[in-house]
């Protein structure tokens, strides 16, 4: 187990870098505690897999250093870093049995056979693979194969980190729940540092204690699931996390009040905009808007036209149009929302101003 520091990592897949845009990773600086559960979350091409490969040693960064417990491992190959990795598509050794698969990393390191046997059985029972030890790995279904690849990571007790690269891609939704809970449970038992890479917010938020949100080679925000949900420091995080994501509405600021389409919208703190700001926006989550009937008077909320109510099972997604701007509102499963004109009232304590994409007030944690 180890504390991991990524110091000023930059990476480009080109040998000669002319422009900043050619960096797949643009200066990433992160510090990860021993035994934590972390997630790297972002859309395809945001650099999360590159970062993962830099930590595992499959890719050497163009600039910067990787430290495990203060020891510089930047130039070490993966086999000398004591790490484990679970890939998107399950990797098992087809010619071997489940037992031999689990024993493989130990046997490669010449462990005594009595220890191999004990360890394999211990891990197999942890993963509910006990009954399958004698089976050939080739014939297993994807979820068991993925458990097996995970088991190969867990079987060594000296691993510094276990990394997961979108491990649930090929797993059915029902089994996804089981496997995800299993991962969470495993982390709570073995307390190894774990890093989970995904584009799926639900997977990231439910697994990790700390989530690193990335976009276009940069870290946009690091925070707990609650922080990311309650207080996104960038409109991208607001949009990316939550389903549907945060509503982002263009606004103006005058006398400490934010105006959306000329109408004042209450915010958490008085709205202040720097003079050189090019883009001012209000961010409010669909969960934090209330729908009120349209009384015709001026001050009881944003005037909208409700155009659609979608049944999402546990809740409903209401789609309201304010001019050309679409605003999503979540309501209860049993709420009845008529189509047509209505007013939207935002929760002021959860409505915030964003300047050029970044949260106007509060600490700018993402760019630390």
């Amino acid at each position: 187990m180890a504390r991991i520091s990524l110091q000023d990592i930059r990476h480009s897949y080109q040998t000669i870098v002319a422009k900043a845009a050619e960096y797949a990773l643009k200066r990433v600086h992160l510090e990860w505690q021993d035994g934590g559960a972390y997630a790297l979350l972002g859309p395809s091409g945001c650099g999360k897999t590159t970062l993962l490969n830099i930590i595992s040693g499959l890719v050497a960064p163009t600039e910067g250093r990787v430290l495990f417990d203060g020891r510089d491992v930047t130039t070490l190959p993966p086999e000398q870093r004591n790490i484990a990795q679970v890939f998107q598509f399950p990797v098992v050794y087809d010619t071997m049995t489940v037992f031999e698969n689990l024993a493989f990393p130990l046997r490669n390191r010449h462990a005594e056979s009595s220890r191999v046997d004990a360890r394999v059985r211990e891990i197999a029972s942890l993963l509910d693979l006990d009954g399958l030890l004698g089976r050939r790995a080739a014939g297993l279904p994807p979820d068991l194969k993925q458990k097996l690849s995970l088991g190969r990571g867990l079987v060594r007790d000296d691993v510094n980190i276990i990394m997961f690269d979108e491990p649930l891609t090929v797993i059915d939704p029902h089994l996804k729940w089981q496997l995800r809970s299993k991962l969470k449970e495993l982390h709570q038992t073995v307390r190894t540092t774990m890093i989970y890479v995904t584009h799926d917010q639900t997977e990231a938020l439910t697994f990790a204690d700390q989530v690193v949100v990335m976009q276009a080679g940069e870290v946009v925000q690091v925070g707990t699931p609650v922080q990311l949900f309650e207080r996104p420091t960038h409109t991208f995080v607001g949009h990316f996390i939550g389903s549907p994501g945060m509503n982002v509405l263009p606004c103006e600021v005058s006398d400490g009040t934010a105006l959306f389409r000329g109408q004042p919208v209450p915010t958490e703190t008085p709205a202040k905009a720097p003079a050189d700001a090019t883009r001012l926006e209000l961010g409010v989550r669909p969960e934090h808007i209330r729908i009120a009937p349209d009384t015709g008077s001026g001050d009881d909320g944003i005037a909208v036209d409700i155009v659609r109510v979608a049944d999402a099972g546990r809740y409903r997604v209401v789609e309201a149009m304010a001019g050309d701007h679409r605003i999503h509102v979540l309501t209860r499963e049993d709420a009845d929302t008529p189509l047509g004109p209505a007013r939207l009232q935002v929760d002021p304590s959860r409505t915030r101003l964003y300047v050029d994409g970044w949260l106007a007030d509060g600490a700018d944690t993402g760019r630390a």
Partner: protein, 356 residues
């Protein structure tokens, strides 16, 4: 327009892939096939497309038998999970390809391709090759091809499965609008219950080669006619436990009981039944009326920012509670949850649901 399956059976290599499927699809809204991998969704789609022929039974389009008709004579479009485009053609030519085959005049092709491209926001990429596009753009190209063709039958086989989560959300929102008012029967296969709900329309739940139920999506979700349908249509998985009716009480294990009056089990004979409770009807607190307290040891906790999930042990079964807000559960603690009685579904030993 209707597409009707009459007791369609498909067997292959001694295995029954589809057990006597009968249903009628209409062009109003999406028709979702919901089920796990290998449940039989793709087999059903292949039968509709004509890529496979039924072992028994008939498939009728507007009452006309097309069981033996090959795909090229069925006027169908198929969009696959993997982005299938012609790699050597531009996006424009890719979208235009079904029209070229149908010998549509050039001016018409240009108009229809531009229309479809505009709908799917592909206009800036029309001159590019598919390989220069992102996954989402490639799949939108495949969708555009399905749209220009004005087919009777549009088959979408997990079209969003290989896309990023956010992109999936966006396209899922657009898809029903794209096909609205086109008069085509749209079939959409997915393994995700949430996707079926968001698409609305009708849903057929598929499990182990059987269509367990077909009907309006919301009805299937809230009033499944059997346990298998309820299982397929619950994400996270539905909590299932045996209960016993004796007199006017329903007993869950030894310590939990609630009155049968007011539930579907009010008038049925005493005996063993099964209760199914979706995780969002298992509340973390609040001693409100209409709930039953149950106490279990917390095994795993998950937090998704706006929701809390707890897995707890109840009489040796693992239960899940999913609720809004942040609840500070501690693993290993005993916690009292409250089951909402109105959220309970009751099933007979043979799996059919008891309705009041």
């Amino acid at each position: 327009m209707t597409l009707e399956f009459r007791s369609v059976v498909k067997r292959s290599k001694g295995e029954t892939l589809i057990h006597a499927a009968s249903f009628t699809l209409a062009p109003t809204g999406f028709n979702v096939l919901l089920g796990a991998t290998n449940a039989g969704k793709t087999t059903l789609i292949k039968l509709m497309a004509g890529l496979d022929r039924p072992t028994k039974g008939e498939i009728l389009l507007n009452g006309k038998d097309l069981t033996r008709l090959p795909p090229q004579r069925r006027n169908v479009s198929l969009v696959h999970q993997f982005f299938v485009n012609y790699p050597h053609l531009s996006v424009f030519e890719n979208i235009a390809s079904p029209l070229r085959v149908a010998r549509v005049p050039g001016a018409d092709i240009r108009r229809r391709v531009h229309e479809a491209a505009e709908l799917l926001r592909l206009t800036p990429f029309l001159e590019r090759r598919p390989s220069a596009l992102s996954g989402g753009q490639q799949q939108r190209t495949a969708l555009a091809r399905a749209i220009v063709k004005s087919s009777d039958l549009v088959l979408l086989d997990e079209p969003l499965a290989n896309l990023d989560y956010k992109l999936r959300e966006e396209l899922r929102d657009q898809l029903p609008r794209l096909f609205e008012g086109r008069g085509a029967i749209v079939v959409y296969a997915t393994s995700e219950p949430s996707e079926a709900l968001m698409l609305g329309g009708h849903t057929a739940t598929v499990s182990q080669g059987r269509v367990t139920q077909f009907g309006p999506t919301a009805t299937l979700y809230r009033a499944p006619q059997d346990l298998e349908t309820a299982r397929v249509f619950s994400d996270p998985p539905i909590n299932v436990a045996p209960i016993r009716k004796s007199g006017d009480r329903l007993h869950l294990g030894d310590s939990v009981a609630w009155p049968a009056a007011g539930t579907a089990l009010a008038t049925v004979p005493d005996g063993a039944y099964t209760v199914g409770v979706k995780p969002h009807f298992v509340l973390p607190g609040g001693d409100a009326a209409g709930t039953v307290p149950v106490t279990g040891r917390i095994q795993i906790t998950e937090l998704s920012g706006s929701e809390s999930i707890a897995h707890f042990d109840l009489d040796g079964r693992s239960w899940v509670s999913q609720s809004h807000g942040i609840h500070p559960y501690q693993v290993g603690d005993l916690h009292t949850f409250h089951i909402e009685i109105r959220g309970c579904l009751y099933f007979r030993p043979d799996g059919t649901r008891v309705t009041a």
